[in-house]
Amino acid sequence: MKILKSIALSGLAFAIAGSMLLTSCGGSGNASKADSSANTAGDANNILGAGSTFDNPLFSKMFSEYNKTNGLKVNYQSIGSGGGIQQLTAKTVDFGASDAPLNGKQDSALSGPAIHIPVTAGAVVVTYNLPDVKDTLMLTPDVLAKIFLGKITKWNDPAIQAINKSVKLPATGIVVSHRSDGSGTTNIFTTYLTKVSKDWEAGPGKGSSVNWPVGLGGKGNEGVAGSVKQTPGGIGYVELAYAIQNNMAFAKMQNKAGKFITPSIASVTAAANIDIPADAKVSLTNTDAADGYPISGLSWIIIYKEQKYGDRAMDKVTKMVKLIQWMVHDGQQFSAPLNYAPLSDKAVSVADAQLKSITFDGKPVLQ
């Protein structure tokens, strides 16, 4: 008993001593680096970003590759697009990533002008679970909106049957699934529905989380996919990359030009091949491009235009801008293998122009 006690005592002492050591290590490590700065800037080799969950797999791949060649450590946390913007506003991160451009309210909350740099594009697909239907379903914007508004409740509804004449549709009820967490995917999807349906615009509207009139909420793509997969008659929306990787059935959507388009990397890149304004804040949904998939969206990195705030060092800012430049150019090779659409040439040139406009203390960072 005595022995056990002393063992436990020494164990505790060891634990405390160990943690002290670790703490002091952390402390001294920080102290030695503290000359560069203590807060946001940290040491120049660590960059902190947060935002879109949609970008996370691609970013994790890009940053890991960039780390191998340049040694820069980028900590990206996928807390959601809105979160990324909020943390950028609070200046707790170096860059935010978002699938939705800043709206007026968010813009005015920022302490200075911010710029949007497009880094990738993606599509939101409508996935469904009809075990007896072998053909790919086709949907029109109007029908899609009605399904998600709860106005069409059976799969053999005449409106659906009219588009898919050759398909024998079952009389199963439609079970709608949507994202429960705030999400850029939801933003792209609801922006699209708002554009194509007056009823949707007057009802739930657009946003990264809206008040859904019907359906189940699932957390993340997986939550939605899970409930669609396991519920016969289910319908939901997920990212293209996710649907492809999980062999899920997804519908062809009718675009503005009247064509039914299968979502794919090619049709998303086509959708992005439109005139992109100089500020890059453009929605690709309901694209004018004839071969473009209508529910597509760009994803942006959002940073302050003037990078000298807080106690940030020039060195770090340069490294971050070079990183983003790399992502827009060389980094694009990692997009396709992960089912992201590479940026169109127009988008790349807009991104370059945006990067050149970044300043540090009034002077451009890139020469």
Binding site: I79, G80, S81, G82, G83, I85, Q86, K105, Q106, A109, G173, V175, H178, S180, D181, G182, S183, P204, G205, K206, G207, S208, S209, V210, N211, W212, G215, L216, G217, G218, K219, G223, G226, S227, Q230, T231, P232
Partner: protein, 329 residues
């Protein structure tokens, strides 16, 4: 660690007796030394007492701080929605309409359903360990295992429920003919029920063990069976203690976040039945806190946190009061 005591206790008398006899001069020196030392000790004692008081005070400051922070950060929402926030039926961040009713209802439904499911089990454990077999290796094993239920991290419960429990519930729902979703209030109540069993069980056990044996023996001598003793002596005697155990379980169920978030289905609609998906206050905060991109939205979420805080505090306080009254009787 104990060395200083030993030197003090052992050497001081020797010192005194030895030096008093031999050299007088040194005695005064050691006297002033001793006086100095005792001054130092008094000072140290005062410092120690003051530290204790400061530490105890800081606990009060901490709790007040938590409450004030929540109130301060939710003023925006309190101002804009007023008291109607609590029964507003719509939660619509796009239009800046925030009503907590669906989440309050979801929280109450999951928690009470979980309690109803768990009560027979936790009482059974309490009666088994408190009355039938208070000793023995089997009871020890059961007691320790039940306590381990409380030790498993809730994120792991959630992960397991998602992978195993939800498909089972979905099959069950297909059989009874409701919309087979799986995720929803029923699933989260089931996993919550498992998680809260230990709280009521361990309290129930200690309460039942506290029943004076002369009461029980009196009943036995009148010819009562075991069941009759439990029903007519033990239950009435421990009534308030058992109820307190339920309250503590409830407090735990109300605030549970991760496991519920993963299986409740997460929708802001008012749940139509116990198989429908819903949302609890804690799960909304976990889902949407980092996403809230305008001040009123964030503030509405923090107000949810405030409501949750107040409700759990009140329930825990009532539970604790009942226990202390019971144990002091």
């Amino acid at each position: 660690m104990e060395a200083p005591i030993d030197t003090n206790l052992a050497t001081r008398p020797d010192e005194r007796s030895g030096r008093v006899v031999s050299i007088k001069k040194q005695d005064t020196v050691s006297n002033t030394k001793r006086i100095n030392r005792s001054f130092r000790q008094i000072r140290a004692e005062n410092v120690f007492r003051r530290t204790l008081i400061i530490v105890a005070l800081s606990m009060i400051v901490l709790v007040l701080g938590i409450m004030l922070t929540l109130i301060w950060k939710s003023t925006l929402s309190i101002k804009s929605a007023g008291i109607g926030y609590l029964w507003g039926k719509v939660w619509d961040p796009v239009r800046d309409i925030y009503g907590a009713y669906p989440f309050i209802l979801g929280t109450l439904l999951t928690s009470f359903l979980a309690l109803i499911i768990s009560i027979p089990f936790s009482f059974a454990v309490g009666v088994f360990l408190g009355e039938y077999y208070p000793k023995g290796w089997l009871s020890d094993l059961l007691k320790n295992t039940v306590e381990l239920i409380a030790a498993v991290p809730s994120v792991i419960y959630g992960f397991w429920a998602l992978a195993v429990l939800v498909p089972i519930v979905r099959n069950f729902e297909t059989k009874i003919g409701v919309e087979p979703v799986g995720l929803g209030i029923f699933s989260s109540s089931l996993i919550l029920a498992v998680m809260v069993i230990p709280y009521a069980a361990s309290l129930g056990r200690s309460m039942i063990q506290m029943v004076p044996s002369n009461l029980k023996e009196a009943a036995y001598s009148l010819g009562a069976t075991r069941w009759e003793v439990i029903r007519s002596v033990i239950f009435p005697y421990t009534k308030s203690g058992l109820f307190a155990g339920i309250l503590l379980s409830l407090g735990r169920a109300l605030g549970e976040t991760m496991a519920v978030t993963m299986v409740i289905g997460n929708t802001s609609l008012i749940p139509k039945s116990i198989f429908a998906p819903g949302n609890t206050m804690a799960s909304v905060i976990a889902n949407e806190f980092t996403e809230a991109d305008h001040p009123v939205y964030l503030s509405a979420l923090i107000e949810l946190g405030l409501v949750l805080f107040l409700v759990t505090v009140v329930i825990n306080m009532i539970g604790k009061k009942m226990i202390s009254r019971f144990t002091n009787e």
